[in-house]
């Protein structure tokens, strides 16, 4: 919704609030529908891989195949490239998009695919694409396996405490590297459409071999080491190697989650392929459950940009529904909807020991990234669920049993997220040490995949701020050393505020304000000034979602809401008054952090969530409500 179209009239706040709360309930229904809507929409990469893998599994229905194909095609830019979610041409996505279209039956000589091929060649050929593309190229026999980094199977025999153990890499990477190890060791082959037109060749037809390491002396040394390893791999190594591979296979078998998948869609897909290569038939229960998981991860989405903007497509998600968004929607919905869905949240609390506990000194608790992933804690999801539980306690009379369960879950959740604090004071999302992986410091080209985000990335700042805000709600203050260390880290990492988007800046401001107490946090004035400077003439902070975030940041500051907050509030209320006609309602989306090779996702329900929270806060300020209802300027 653009600001220009919004008339400056008075708004009945209660009416608007009820309307937007009903949108949250409609999103929840849509996400749980038989034909579900995706709450997080990634790029087309996973969908392309699903189409490729279907040659092996023959699992997709004709509708699913054509649906995914339509979505992939709709995402193609007129230039022929497939763009990343930030709008830049992406080599890997373009290569996969081309291949998926060919696999679906498009003529490689058709205009859109010729343009795509040109883009791939301009960007260096498919051999320069990301790790996932190269795995598929190797499985298709288009490139040798030696063009991928070698991974000694013996790593699986190392104790979990050693720096190069697979347990020290991020969970997403572990889910991808283990099947990759088995596929590479077995020289796996899948019969797919010919991708060689995507590869850049020399004049004689010889393929241009990519480096597996980064340029530089260290990279050269590592390249030599890599070649040596590959030579050694060709030598029969006896029982050690066999034992290591057996352990990796056992890990794959044991790591299948209750939802049927392995951490998320991409590791699941690769694991299923590895299992087929290990000799499992495609009607094996593990494979069937995995395929069902992938099916549940598919859903509908509405295009938010490009020539197909507003059209609905079937898309492949990264998982079967992020708990964090569902919990946020529940927090935004009315009390009735929340009460009905609360049991579902409580049932999915983590009760079993998981790999995340190796370096986290806490008993089982918290919530996973998606329902049924009992071994993978997600701090962000846990924070979101704790928020719902806190609201549920205030909803009014509860059955005593449920209230007790809520109390117990809050207790465990707080204990777990506190224990997820890193030594530097920040908070990890899935496992402690996930962004400080020793192996990722080696100059491998794909080393970045081994860790979950960078140590000082905005994602980590958001997670840390969310945790500190949530803990503040449950009574933790600056007088606790863990909170003090977290705030100190956040203060140090937010020195250059210009590089943050408005929602992150507002979140950090709210965090500092909540923990200010008698004396404001030293970084709070700078955050406040930066946030105020982002407001536009019309009172907005850019998009509606950013305005909602910015307004919440302003309202968190000490004292009564200022005139800037009043104007932003009036903008938000007026924008919300315009009924969203789509189903499920669209009040704006926000980019969110994804997983691994799909690092960014779109959250289409985020606008509804943020606006409900904002309208609730406005309702708590009588003067501001009156200002909005009078329609003053």
């Amino acid at each position: 919704m653009g600001s220009s179209a919004i008339p400056r009239v008075g708004v009945h706040l209660q009416e608007v609030r009820s309307q937007v709360e009903s949108y949250a309930a409609r999103w929840l229904t849509a996400a749980a529908d038989e034909k579900p809507w995706l709450l997080q929409v990634p790029d087309i990469g996973v969908a392309c891989e699903v189409l490729l893998a279907d040659r092996l599994f023959c699992d997709l229905s004709a509708d699913e195949r054509s649906g995914l194909y339509r979505w992939i095609r709709a995402n193609q830019d007129p230039s022929g490239a497939w763009l990343g979610l930030r709008g830049q041409p992406d080599l890997s996505l373009t290569a996969m998009g081309w291949w998926a279209c060919v696999e679906f039956g498009d003529d490689p000589q058709s205009e859109h695919l010729v343009r795509a091929r040109r883009v791939v060649h301009e960007l260096g050929g498919a051999q320069r694409a990301n790790f996932s593309v190269r795995i598929w190229l190797a499985m298709a026999g288009a490139i040798p396996w030696s063009w991928l980094p070698s991974m000694p199977a013996e790593l699986w025999l190392l104790p979990a405490s050693t720096p190069v153990s697979p347990h020290r890499i991020a969970p997403w990477a572990r889910g991808l590297m283990t099947p990759f190890l088995l596929l590479a060791q077995g020289d796996a082959r899948v019969h797919l459409s010919d991708p060689t037109p995507l590869l850049l060749c020399r004049t004689g037809g010889e393929l241009v071999a990519p480096r597996v390491t980064s340029p530089g002396a260290a990279g050269d040394l590592l390249q030599i080491f890599d070649r040596t390893l590959k030579l050694i791999n060709k030598v029969p190594r006896g029982p050690l190697s066999r034992r290591a591979k057996a352990r990796a296979r056992a890990w794959l078998r044991d790591s299948q989650q209750h939802h049927g998948g392995w951490f998320s869609a991409r590791p699941t897909l690769l694991t299923l392929v590895a299992m087929r290569c290990m000799g499992m038939t495609f009607d094996a229960p593990e494979i069937r459950r995995g395929l069902d998981y992938l099916r549940r991860s598919r859903g509908y989405m509405r295009m938010h940009r490009g020539p197909h903007k507003g059209e609905v497509f079937l898309a492949q998600g990264l998982g079967s529904g992020p708990v964090s968004v569902q919990a946020d929607l529940l927090a935004s919905a009315d009390a009735g909807a929340r009460r009905d869905a609360l049991d579902g949240l409580l049932v999915h609390e983590i009760r079993e020991a998981g790999a995340w506990q190796l370096r986290t000194d806490a008993p089982a608790g918290g919530w996973p990234h998606e329902f049924g992933a009992q071994a993978y804690l997600d701090v962000e999801a846990t924070c979101a669920v704790l928020g719902v539980l806190g609201i549920a306690l205030r909803d009014g009379p509860q059955t005593s049993v449920r209230t007790r369960e809520i109390w117990a879950a809050i207790r465990r959740g707080c204990q777990v997220i506190l224990a997820m604090q890193e030594a530097d004071g920040s908070f990890s999302r899935f496992e402690r040490g996930e962004s400080n992986v020793w192996m990722s410091r080696l100059p491998w080209r794909d080393a970045v995949l081994l860790s979950a985000g960078e140590r000082f990335a905005a994602e980590r700042i958001r997670v840390t701020a969310k945790v500190l805000l949530r803990l503040n709600q449950f009574g933790w203050r600056r007088d606790d050393d863990r909170i003090a260390r977290g705030l100190q880290w956040l203060g140090m990492r937010t020195q250059r505020l210009g590089r943050f988007d408005t929602s992150t800046l507002a979140l950090v401001t709210r965090c500092f304000a909540a923990h200010s107490g008698r004396s404001p946090h030293p970084q709070l004035p700078a955050c406040e000034a930066a946030l105020r400077a982002r407001q536009h003439e019309d009172g907005s902070f850019g998009s509606l979602v950013d305005t909602a975030a910015g307004l919440r940041g302003l309202m968190a500051l000490d004292g009564a809401p200022c005139i800037q907050a009043h104007r932003a509030g009036a903008f938000v209320a007026r924008a919300c008054k315009q009924h969203a006609t789509d189903e499920p309602p669209d009040l704006g989306s926000r980019l969110h952090y994804g997983l691994g090779l799909s690092p960014i996702c779109v959250e289409p329900a985020r606008g509804v969530i943020d606006l409900v929270e904002t309208l609730r806060e406005i309702a708590g300020e009588p003067q501001m409500s009156m200002y909005i209802q009078r329609g003053e300027e």
Partner: protein
């Protein structure tokens, strides 16, 4: 006897008719016989509306019994408590520290509603012919003789609807007017005061606590929560007090405080106690009354005496109520004052002269530092505000779980039954040893990074090291030759 107006001349004037003042007046009355006159004054008619201490260790209960308060208190509904029970977290370890472990001590302490306690004690002390209890009078000024020695007090009260001032002369003035003592302030005695936070009180009936007759400490929330029985009700049920610790910068006020407690404390209580607490909060909120609240203060021992003046109870120093030792200390002060008074009661000179005051200070300064050091350390550890405190908390549970002897020694210190320096030091060293082990062996994480273990160990070492000064102070207070203290006085 109860007097409307204080007499002009008495042997001892006691300011403050709370627990410590009443006990001191009673101890003096029993020591002095009929020929000594004591005046006990308090600013409040009836009882002080403020929320105050209610838990007394066996050492204090023994004093109450010796002074003749025990039977009336039990008849008024006071509860004999069996010790302390500490719950690490709702799903954590549980340790009972029963008073029956203590050798040569009363096997039961006493817990009683503070208003019942004061009302009963005033009734008992007013029955002494040598005590004049005057309610509605507060201290306005200390009277001094030419040498600057305190020789009485100017009291302000109401007579026939008018505010009047009356000078009362006494050989000795005793300040028993609590942690915000006006007597201490008027005497210009030095004090080091710091506010630790606030304590909020809640009332529960038949609370489902792990140890029904114990003082139950539940950890895991922002601060420790203490739940203990305070009254036998007529219908056979037990009335419990729950005290919650709030930070000094109050995070919420008024009605928001109810929501704050619901979110930050109730989830950290075991069931069904949590449900009972939630109901109690709902009731209190519906009644429209504010929750009883009192500031918690650390007041390190000021000089407990000045010429012609001595301080007892919280006026002479107080600490966080987590060890529930404040009332016991007040009773112990009263016991010491009574004993010293008995020695010179038969004399014809001024009662409680400088020599007795000096001896009081010597004895007082021996047992008070132990209590203050322990209360401060236990509060810090139970609150768990830093990695070191949490490690020592963990270690304490390991230590208490290791043997009955360990529990006995800890309880003897906590309940003021033990003050010998070697016991204090050995307990300190044992806790430090267990803490080091806890830092090295985490409970859940199999591969906890070394840097985390080191941080915890460093925190525990810093905390233990920070207490070395207090340990030295306690030891010195106990081994210091008496003549050096008298000389200092």
């Amino acid at each position: 006897m109860i007097c409307e107006q204080p007499p002009q001349r008495v042997d001892v004037l006691v300011i403050g008719a709370g627990m410590a003042g009443c006990a001191t007046a009673q101890a003096l009355a029993l020591a002095g016989g009929d020929h000594r006159q004591i005046c006990l004054v308090d600013r409040h008619r009836g009882v002080c509306p403020r929320f105050a201490g209610e838990f007394i260790h066996p050492r204090g209960a023994q004093v109450l019994e010796d002074l003749g308060f025990m039977a009336p208190l039990l008849a008024a509904g006071a509860v004999e408590v069996a010790g302390f029970a500490v719950l690490e977290r709702v799903d954590g370890r549980y340790v009972e520290l029963p008073y029956s472990l203590l050798p040569d001590a009363r096997p039961r302490g006493l817990a009683v509603h503070h208003k019942t306690l004061v009302r009963t004690m005033r009734r008992v002390v007013a029955s002494q012919p040598s005590v004049a209890l005057c309610e509605g009078w507060s201290i306005a000024e200390l009277l001094r003789d030419e040498a600057g020695r305190v020789c009485g007090a100017s009291l302000r009260g109401k007579s026939e609807g008018r505010t009047v001032t009356r000078d009362v002369y006494a050989d000795t003035v005793i300040g028993a007017d609590g942690k915000s003592s006006a007597t201490r302030r008027l005497a210009q005695l030095p004090e080091q005061r710091s506010q630790v936070g606030f304590t909020v009180g809640l009332s529960l009936t038949d609370a489902a606590v792990p140890g029904p007759m114990f003082g139950n400490v539940v950890l895991g929330a922002w601060g420790p929560m203490l739940i203990y029985p305070i009254e036998h009700l007529a219908d056979g049920s037990l009335h419990y007090r729950m005290t919650l610790d709030l930070p000094p910068a109050l995070p919420a006020k008024g009605r928001q405080l109810f929501d704050f407690i619901r979110t930050t404390f109730v989830p950290f209580l075991p069931n069904p106690l949590a449900a009972q607490t939630a109901e109690a909060l709902d009731r209190a909120e519906a009644s429209g009354q504010a929750l009883p609240m009192a500031p918690t203060v650390n007041l390190s021992t000021p000089s407990a005496i000045a010429p012609g003046l001595l301080l007892v109870g919280d006026a002479a120093g107080c600490s966080h109520p987590i060890t529930a030792s404040g009332m016991t200390m007040g009773l112990r002060d009263a016991e010491v004052v009574g004993r010293l008074a008995a020695e010179v009661a038969a004399g014809t000179g001024p009662w409680l002269g400088e020599r007795e005051l000096c001896r009081y200070k010597v004895l007082h300064d021996r047992y008070v530092p132990t209590r203050q050091a322990l209360a401060e350390a236990i509060y810090q550890v139970f609150r768990g505000g830093d990695a070191g405190a949490r490690a020592i908390q963990d270690a304490l549970f390991d230590y208490w779980g290791s043997s009955q002897r360990a529990r006995e020694r800890s309880l003897s210190l906590l309940s003021c039954a033990e003050g010998r320096p070697h016991v204090f030091i050995s307990e300190y060293l044992r806790a430090a040893r267990y803490a080091m082990r806890v830092c090295i062996q985490p409970r859940y994480a199999r591969n906890l990074p070394v840097v985390d273990r080191l941080r915890t160990a460093r925190g525990a070492a810093q905390l233990a090291g920070g207490k070395l000064g207090q340990v030295a102070q306690v030891v010195w207070a106990n081994v210091r030759p008496q003549w050096t203290m008298q000389r200092a006085v």
